[in-house]
């Protein structure tokens, strides 16, 4: 998948997922760096175990570059599975949970 499209798909899928979890999206930002794209999403939401489990799964799947081939599915599936299919393209994913909500940081290599 074209890298810019992948960035948009990634952002869309995660925002969609958070909205389905009753999140109030405070901000979403894409920074184009020299070697990678930095995606930052801040959401105000109740962060339950399910969300934490889902995010840690994405973290786990990102260590499987051999699953990149399935990323074509990410263009069409508007649910968490869409994120699973693009997760192998992620270089780094961090999430921070606080009283105010959730901050998700992603890096996708250019």
């Amino acid at each position: 998948m074209e890298i810019e499209k992948l960035i948009v798909v990634t952002l869309n899928e995660i925002v969609y997922y958070l909205l389905k979890k009753d999140a109030h999206i405070i901000s979403s930002e894409i920074v184009s760096l020299e070697k990678d794209f930095h995606i930052l999403i801040e959401a105000n939401m109740p962060v339950g175990d399910e969300v934490l489990r889902d995010l840690s799964l994405i973290k786990k799947i990102k260590d499987h570059p051999e699953l990149k081939y399935y990323s074509a599915l990410g263009e069409q599936i508007g649910n968490l599975q869409g994120i699973y299919s693009i997760a192998p393209y992620l270089n780094k994913i961090d999430f921070d949970v606080s009283d105010e909500g959730l901050k998700v940081e992603l890096f996708v290599r250019k």
């Binding site: 840690s56 260590d63 499987h64 570059p65 699953l67 081939y69 399935y70 069409q76 699973y84």
Partner: protein, 436 residues
């Protein structure tokens, strides 16, 4: 929050457990082959290597049980070593792909014919500058087209032009396989089977146009059954017990696994854990074997291959809840159509037709039954297109069914909503008119 050391140790445990399982499976198949093949093993392996192997060529029938199992074990071992060599962090896809290769190595794949396809895929990956691991599983599943290697390269001595064409076929697989995913949207688990069917269809047409098509083949082993039944049952009971041991001798969490639709990419090892995946593999393997024996079909290369594939995909989307409606649909088809339930076509349709499990998992039992029923008919009418060169003929059929059913299911949903709205709307209107 997970810390780095936790994640590392977690990943290491994954690698060890899955690789250990794949090595063990390979070894046990090779050992069974060595014991049953005995002194004839080399001769049996020679027959397997040089014989044409398009559908249906049961290695147990043309060479022997020992040779077939030894070939299967060796191939599984070699592909597991590739995973190790490329430092792949194995997951459910690894189990599904290696077990599928092992299953088909009983009737079509051998230690020679798989490599030109694999090389073709790697060549594409290298030329487009992708990481060698990106299309690794396309290469693994792409060995569905292995019979083309034997036909084009070995049918009249060693043919270099044939080798070039097979490399080209492997070369075309990655872009086609990625595109195929968008067609059926992950509802056909054997995506490369669908892709290989397309490629095989064009190749079949070209071969036919130049009068180079092979003669139809039908080799179906029906010999000694008790030893095979004992081996397969013992193997899958062992896998089930291994999973239970890892899960502290309980089925805890298994009900959660049954709630997944199974649509690609549902990797149970990543989404759940390896223990539940092994439990699921064991259960599916036992169910598949019991079905074959129950309908009095023989255990042979193709049926054991079907059981291995069914069980292998127990780590990648299939579970009893989403396969049963599809199986029911195929059995209804088999009972009502002209084919006996235990005919080769129908028994293989049941075992491999579970590629459509995500339809039942996502849209419910009725759509699963419909998908299975359609599959029982379509799968018999596609093999001639690729002249049996695509070993995953059921994946080819499954792709068409998934593409065909999705818009119909969407339309049905819309229709249902519209009718409900109209009915409720009328009721409201009547209520207002009656002063209620």
């Amino acid at each position: 929050m997970y810390n780095k050391s936790d994640l590392l140790s977690y990943a290491e445990v994954f690698v060890l457990l899955i690789l250990r399982f794949l090595y063990f499976t390979s070894m046990i198949f090779m050992l069974f082959g060595l014991i049953t093949g005995n002194f004839d093993l080399l001769q049996q392996m020679r027959i397997i290597l040089i014989s044409p192997d398009y559908l249906i060529t049961d290695y147990m029938a043309i060479a022997g049980v020992g040779g077939a199992f030894f070939n299967s074990g060796v191939l599984m071992l070699l592909f597991t070593l590739i995973l190790k060599l490329l430092s792949i962090n194995p997951s459910g896809v690894s189990i599904a792909s290696v077990m599928t290769i092992g299953g088909f190595a009983l009737f079509g794949k051998n230690v020679f014919n798989v490599w030109p396809i694999v090389l073709g895929v790697f060549l594409y990956t290298w030329l487009v500058g992708e990481n060698i691991r990106t299309y690794l599983y396309v290469a693994f599943f792409g060995t569905a087209l292995a019979p083309i290697s034997t036909h084009l390269i070995l049918s009249n001595g060693f043919n270099l032009t044939g080798l070039f064409f097979v490399l080209l076929i492997g070369f075309l697989l990655p872009p086609l396989a990625s595109f195929s995913l968008t067609l059926h949207r992950g509802y056909n688990l054997y995506n490369v089977g669908f892709t290989a069917g397309f490629l095989g269809m064009f190749l079949g047409a070209i071969l036919k146009a130049y009068d180079l098509q092979p003669e139809p083949r039908y080799f179906w082993y029906e010999g000694e059954q008790s030893l095979l039944a004992m081996f397969i049952f013992t193997f899958f009971i062992g896998v089930l017990l291994y999973g239970l041991k890892l899960n502290n001798w309980s089925f805890k969490g298994y009900l959660r696994l049954l709630n997944y639709s199974g649509k690609l990419l549902t990797d149970f090892v990543l989404l759940e854990n390896e223990a539940l995946s092994f439990i699921n593999i064991g259960i599916l393997g036992l169910l598949g074997t019991a079905y074959v024996l129950l309908i009095r079909a023989p255990l042979n290369g193709p049926t054991i291959g079907g059981i291995m594939t069914l069980a292998g995909f127990g780590a990648l989307g299939k579970h009893p809840r989403n396969i049963l409606p599809v199986v029911l649909g195929i059995v209804i088809g088999a009972i009502t159509n002209s084919q006996p339930v235990n005919s080769a076509a129908m028994v293989l349709a049941v075992l491999f037709g579970t590629t459509l499990a995500p339809i039942a998992g996502e849209f419910g039992i009725i759509w699963g039954i419909i998908a299975g029923f359609l599959h029982s008919a379509l799968v018999m009418n596609l093999g001639f297109l690729h002249l049996g060169m695509n070993l995953y003929n059921n994946g080819f059929s499954g792709g068409f069914i998934a593409i065909f059913l999705q818009p119909i299911i969407d339309a049905w949903k819309k229709l249902k909503e519209a009718v409900q709205q109209r009915l409720f709307g009328n009721k409201d209107k009547e209520g207002v008119e009656n002063g209620n």
